[in-house]
Symmetry: C2
Subunit: 293 residues, 2 copies
């Protein structure tokens, strides 16, 4: 059951807040926001959907409020969907002890470690449950025509879900994504936990390869052509600290002979929404090519 | 002494955070943000300045993060300045008891009531002290070429400061401004206080007429031509509750024979930043005409 919690007119449409009890997240309540380039739910035109996945510490409001995406989505006739970054209130031990693990840090996977597997299934929520909830809203959404983008941990989510589920998304893009999580501190902590055996995945970092964009590109199915755009800033402290590792991903892409994958380094830009908003219009335009084809 | 606290590249320029000890605000520390359409402070080109005044409960970050103004300012070559909405930490009795009075609710005036007059002088801060602080930053700003806009209480601030100081601002605009504060609950509380004698102004509501846009228009100097753009939404609960009173202002404008003042009602839009961002591009374009003339 989905419940509308807010509606605000914006641009040529409206942004709606919803909450729902999620079975994928173990019966917890979750919230999400939807922008539709029309304020009438009875419109016969249905809009393609672009999912935005936010980063560590963020929630369903962050991208909606700070990304500046609505203007271009309105212009292009694309709906935007902003889910949360993790379950909330699962009460798993250690869930609220650090900003980069647990609450606000779901990593867009399905947990296999018994400690986390009841609640930490943001993959299943976003790829399976959320499209059904969107149908329930009655909004004019064409959920069968969808693309996905995101920032940092959400960029990792957007790229890995795109690689894992070719039937669900036409294109993907990311701002400063975590592209090789089995090789960086954030990813290692997510997969194998703060103590090495209490992460989201039962088999830790080794199992994490199935959630690692660079690893997934190396194992792509013959003949699959990727449509991907990635931007990161050279002034990004997390890039400098080796959390993003775009070079590893680029090497894998080159080896795989993927010609429609663009990885751009943006001189001096950092990890913030000031960076994201500056390149958002180009990302929306990129997705419009595929969503409106 | 102004101190830079942050710098983030955004669009074709950068947004800077500053803090400074303010004499107008009784020696308290205040913060403000500045967007410059260039990330080089040694540029020989100086940019005209558009001040944005935020509303009740907001601070120096609200308009910068949620307004979506940077994109158009970057395109037009206009700098943006975002001051705070009140002094912080003045420790005046009752200062933190309500969201619409005291902290976060400075009303952009100079207090005359002894209780508040040491600290609550946002008018003086914005019109006199802030331009000097901006010079101190060393950023390429042409502070002599300025306009001013704002939202709600900040719309009241933008319009009244424009009316009071014709030499400082070339144009003014506002989203859902409080236009006749001596006639609405927010304004009455600000001017005469929660108990009728403890407001910002020694002579209460009567003195408030000197800070009331509708009253000021009626007393305009012969020959002064106003350049003003105002938008409000018909779905705005505060408009419906009689806090904004645009009709009273329109009547005064008509009586004064001002032909370049536009007051537009926007069907269904509310009081939020979703409304503001939708009309921001038109406001920036409006100011560009005067700032780049």
């Amino acid at each position: 059951m989905v419940e509308q919690t807010s509606k605000n007119l914006s641009w040529n449409g409206a942004i709606y807040g919803y909450k729902a009890t999620s079975s994928s997240l173990g019966g917890l309540e979750t919230s999400f926001n939807v922008f539709v380039p029309s304020s009438s739910s009875s419109s016969s035109k249905k809009f393609p959907v672009l999912y935005y996945l936010a980063g560590l510490t963020c929630n369903a409001d962050t991208g909606a409020q700070k990304g500046g995406f609505l203007r271009d989505a309105a212009e292009q006739g694309i709906a935007l969907v902003f889910p949360d970054t993790s379950p909330r209130g699962a009460k798993v031990e250690g869930e609220d002890e650090s900003w980069d693990f647990g609450t606000g840090a779901g990593f867009y996977l399905n947990a296999t470690n018994s400690k986390w597997e009841k609640h930490y299934n943001m993959d299943k929520f976003i790829t399976q449950e959320l499209p059904k909830l969107l149908q329930e809203t009655g909004l004019p959404l064409d959920t069968k025509t969808a693309s996905i983008f995101g920032h940092s941990m959400g960029g990792h989510g957007a790229v890995t879900l795109y690689l894992l589920y070719p039937e669900l998304y036409k294109s993907s893009s990311a701002f400063a994504p975590i592209l090789n999580p089995t090789q960086c501190a954030w990813g290692k902590k997510a997969f194998s936990g703060p103590n090495g055996n209490d992460g989201y995945l039962a088999n830790g970092i080794e199992e994490g390869k199935s959630r690692d964009a660079t690893e997934l590109v190396a194992g792509l199915k013959e003949g699959r052509k990727l449509d991907l755009l990635i931007d990161y800033g050279t002034g990004d402290q997390f890039y400098k600290d080796g959390q993003l590792l775009p070079e590893n991903f680029e090497a894998a892409i080159k080896k795989a002979g993927q010609s429609n994958v663009t990885v751009r380094s943006q001189e001096g830009f950092d990890h913030s929404y000031w960076f994201i908003q500056s390149f958002g219009p180009e990302h929306i335009k990129f997705h419009a090519k595929y969503l409106k084809a």
